[in-house]
């Protein structure tokens, strides 16, 4: 008996309050959106194979990259780890039966689906070509595509993410098992907590910015319209006040996954637990102070640039701390190289590059040359795809046995991890050079001397596509044919591993009592000895 088999029928899924079922619903839906976004990315890369805009007209290309951005950011990256893995495992990790607000959790999924369907509807009925940043006055007065419906979709998706974040914060504060103190929480919980703070405090500002854009488009109010005395830069302030922290909303949960896998597969506690935990919170707090570094060349005051650039340097430090702490977690460990660990290594390398190139853009001087070029495209794909997506895949493989009760096939998944890593570097590394050379982003046509690097990039994207298709195939296969996993195949310490796979609807037969630190492998060995003794 487990949460999957307890109740049958479609309705038992659609009306469920169980966080694990909602997480499963989320997993299916975000995978769907990921592949739509991925298909759009494929179209972009195909178009850029040649310097002319010959595969698509420029306006089609603009719609394609806009929808790629909107779908990937609002319907994949933001909910990816929190709404699936976080939803599934945070209650289990803290020893709770469910999230504090199961109905709100389900509502969050419905909102997500409503927003997603509206987004797809928009795409089918002509799309939108403002770029995912909705820059005013372009979005308010100069395009005649479906800005309004897209705006509504993003607005609703925002509420879905607010509800997820709110639910996590309440759960982590109020639902911990006896003995589960803050500094015994797994780092995955810490980083999701930090991301949730950003969701709750940042998203409403995006909501109001979108409301004002919608009012400006429909009624014609003048808050952002320069001809009426409004200020288009104000929109950017409001938009980036959310959308910069949103980057941390996307990456922080991924960092949490890495903390779990790196510890589990080196069988060693995370080096400097407190520093890693606090660096998550530091990223969340400092994340709110740096938004205007997206606007250095857009005519904000030079002095503002100075302050925002300085604060950006400060927010880079916690990420560096994390990287080094993870590296030293390996020191004197006992390392094995299962698929999650391979993705983890991939994450560490690619995120280091992504993070360091972020410093290039946070430094006001070099930002002038590099911003709005392919350098920035490469940078955030290194962080988002190389970082976040690698972490997501690491997490999916790591917890797959717990979620489904079956192992994924090890050999082919290691191959997939390798293919993804190679394909990724082929795709996005040339874009750093393109950006340095000055190729602007969002160009359907480009000067011919940039072609060779674009060809490399497109070739890499093909490999990358294979790397993403493989897991879908073998993970689906493993649902039926995979080996039975057992309760704790990785010998990991988290509470989620101390219960059956797949878990019961109420997670634990009785509420566990936490009497050891997180990542306490000695405690785990003691448990095993006890078990052996009792059996013997």
């Amino acid at each position: 008996m487990n949460f999957l088999s307890k109740e049958k029928g479609l309705l038992s899924w659609l009306l469920t309050g169980d966080h694990k079922r909602i997480a499963t619903l989320y997993l299916v839906s975000i995978t769907f959106f990921f592949f739509i976004g991925g298909a759009l990315a494929g179209l972009i890369r195909l178009e850029l194979l040649t310097p002319q805009s010959d595969l698509m007209a420029t306006d089609t290309y603009n719609k394609v990259f806009t929808m790629h951005g909107i779908i990937m950011i609002f319907f994949f990256l933001v909910p990816s780890v929190p709404a699936t893995l976080g939803n599934f495992f945070i209650p289990m990790m803290i020893g709770a039966k469910d999230l504090a607000l199961p109905k709100i959790n389900l509502l969050s999924w419905y909102l997500y689906m409503a927003a997603g369907c509206l987004g797809l509807y928009t795409m089918m009925t002509g799309g939108v070509d403002t770029g995912w940043t909705f820059t005013t006055p372009l979005s308010t007065h100069y395009v005649n595509t479906n800005v309004l419906t897209t705006g509504i979709a993003v607005f609703i998706a925002g509420f879905s993410s607010i509800f997820t974040g709110l639910n996590f914060i309440v759960t982590i504060h109020k639902m911990r098992a006896p003995g589960m103190t803050w500094f015994r929480l797994p780092l995955f919980v810490w980083s999701n907590y930090a991301a949730s703070i950003l969701m709750v405090l940042g998203t409403p500002v995006l909501a109001i910015a979108i409301v004002l854009v919608a009012l400006e488009r429909t009624i014609g109010i003048g808050v952002f319209d320069p001809t009426k005395g409004g200020d288009p830069l104000l929109f950017q302030h409001l938009f980036w006040f959310y959308s910069h922290p949103a980057v941390y909303i996307m990456i922080l949960p991924g960092m949490g996954v890495i903390s779990e896998t790196v510890s589990t597969f080196s069988r060693k506690r995370v080096f400097g637990y407190t520093a890693v935990a606090f660096s998550s919170v530091a990223i969340a707090v400092f994340g709110f102070f740096v938004w205007a570094h997206h606007m250095f060349i857009m005519g904000i005051s030079n002095y503002s640039t100075l302050i925002f650039s300085l604060l950006t340097m400060l927010v880079a430090v916690p990420s560096a701390i994390k990287i080094f702490n993870w590296s030293f977690t390996l020191y004197k460990g006992s390392i094995t190289f299962e698929t999650p660990m391979m993705y983890t290594f991939g994450f560490m390398g690619l995120f280091t590059i992504g993070g360091l190139t972020g410093v290039f853009l946070g430094t006001s001087g070099t930002d002038i040359h590099l911003t709005e070029t392919y350098f920035i495209v490469a940078h955030f794909h290194f962080v988002m795809v190389g970082g976040m997506l690698m972490a997501f895949l690491a997490g999916i493989h790591y917890w797959w046995p717990k979620m489904t009760g079956r192992m994924y096939p090890e050999k082919i998944s290691q191959l997939a991890a390798l293919v993804t890593f190679i394909g990724f570097n082929f795709t996005f590394f040339p874009q750093f050079i393109l950006g340095t050379l000055g190729m602007p982003r969002r160009y359907a046509a480009y000067p011919p001397e940039f072609q060779i690097l674009n060809v490399f990039s497109t070739a890499g994207a093909t490999i990358l596509g294979v790397g993403y298709l493989l897991p879908i195939l073998y993970l689906t296969w493993s649902l039926k044919y995979g080996e039975i996993a057992g309760n704790n195949p990785w010998q990991a310490t988290g509470l989620e591993w101390q219960t059956q796979s797949p878990p019961l609807t109420e997670n634990f037969p009785e509420i566990p009592i936490m009497d050891h630190e997180a990542y306490d492998y000695e405690w785990l060995d003691g448990q095993k000895e006890k078990e052996v003794a009792s059996v013997g």
């Binding site: 504090a100 607000l101 639902m175 006896p178 003995g179």
Partner: protein
């Protein structure tokens, strides 16, 4: 944490197992935990509301600094007695709401229904007054984007409200910026009114439920949390009233 402490915690968890009211949801250990969690969730939701209105307040402060004379003349078009009346209505409704929570806590069903109904009536009153004010703006063509008219600002002698405030005619460029003022006026009061409409709708639903005795069985969380929402909407108005109506009046 030592073993003995763990023991204690386990015991407290056990000690509270016997309290098991019907409205406690299965995944909570105690009703207090459930109440605490939902209350905290409501506060977090109010945080998002603070930030939502925060964007509007930011815009207001920027443009007030840029177009001060336009904001002064714009605010002279607002009706202080009506705004003041609305403030009274909302503050009183906040009071009746707080009393409602008190009634629910003491399980006084009749009084609770009365309090909620009063709150509902006061909220509807607010919305009616607001509608009246909006009607005035529409008649004077002060709605941005809809044939916006500069008449009251270029020729204040033709406008009663401007005359009463002894307005001098604004230069054309500044008069045009009154549209920004009214954009913000409608965005801010509109968003506030939207929250009021949502609140009043929930109130109507709650009155029916309260009559059925839903909130007077010891399970006051719902009333309490709605109260928080209602008070928050009141607080937003407490700031909107001076910012939009008053501070440029003298």
């Amino acid at each position: 944490m030592s073993d003995s402490q763990v023991q204690v915690l386990a015991e407290t968890a056990e000690a509270h197992e016997h309290v098991h009211p019907p409205y406690q949801r299965h995944h909570f250990e105690t009703y207090a935990q459930q109440n605490d969690a939902t209350n905290f969730a409501m506060w977090l939701f109010l945080l998002t509301e603070i930030m939502f209105f925060g964007g509007l307040f930011t815009a207001y402060l920027i443009f007030r600094n840029w177009y001060y004379p336009a904001f002064v003349s714009g605010s002279h078009q607002l009706n202080i007695p009506l705004g003041g009346l609305n403030t009274l209505l909302l503050i009183t409704s906040s009071f009746t709401m707080a009393m409602g929570v008190w009634c629910a806590e003491l399980r006084k069903k009749g009084a609770l229904v009365l309090c909620l109904t009063l709150t509902f009536v006061l909220g509807m009153g607010f919305l009616m007054v607001k509608t009246f004010e909006y009607k005035e703006k529409i008649e004077k063509h002060h709605v941005p984007g809809f044939h916006y008219s500069l008449q009251s600002f270029l020729a204040p002698e033709t406008d009663e409200a401007a005359m009463a405030a002894h307005d001098k005619p604004l230069p054309v460029d500044m008069a045009r910026h009154t549209e920004v003022y009214f954009s913000l006026y409608f965005a801010m009061t509109g968003m506030h009114a939207l929250h009021m409409i949502i609140g009043v709708s929930i109130l109507a639903f709650m009155i029916v439920r309260a009559q059925a005795g839903a909130y007077t069985t010891g399970h006051v969380t719902y009333v309490e949390n709605f109260g928080l929402y209602w008070h928050f909407v009141d607080i937003v108005w407490i700031f909107l009233f001076p910012l939009l109506y008053l501070i440029s009046r003298h």
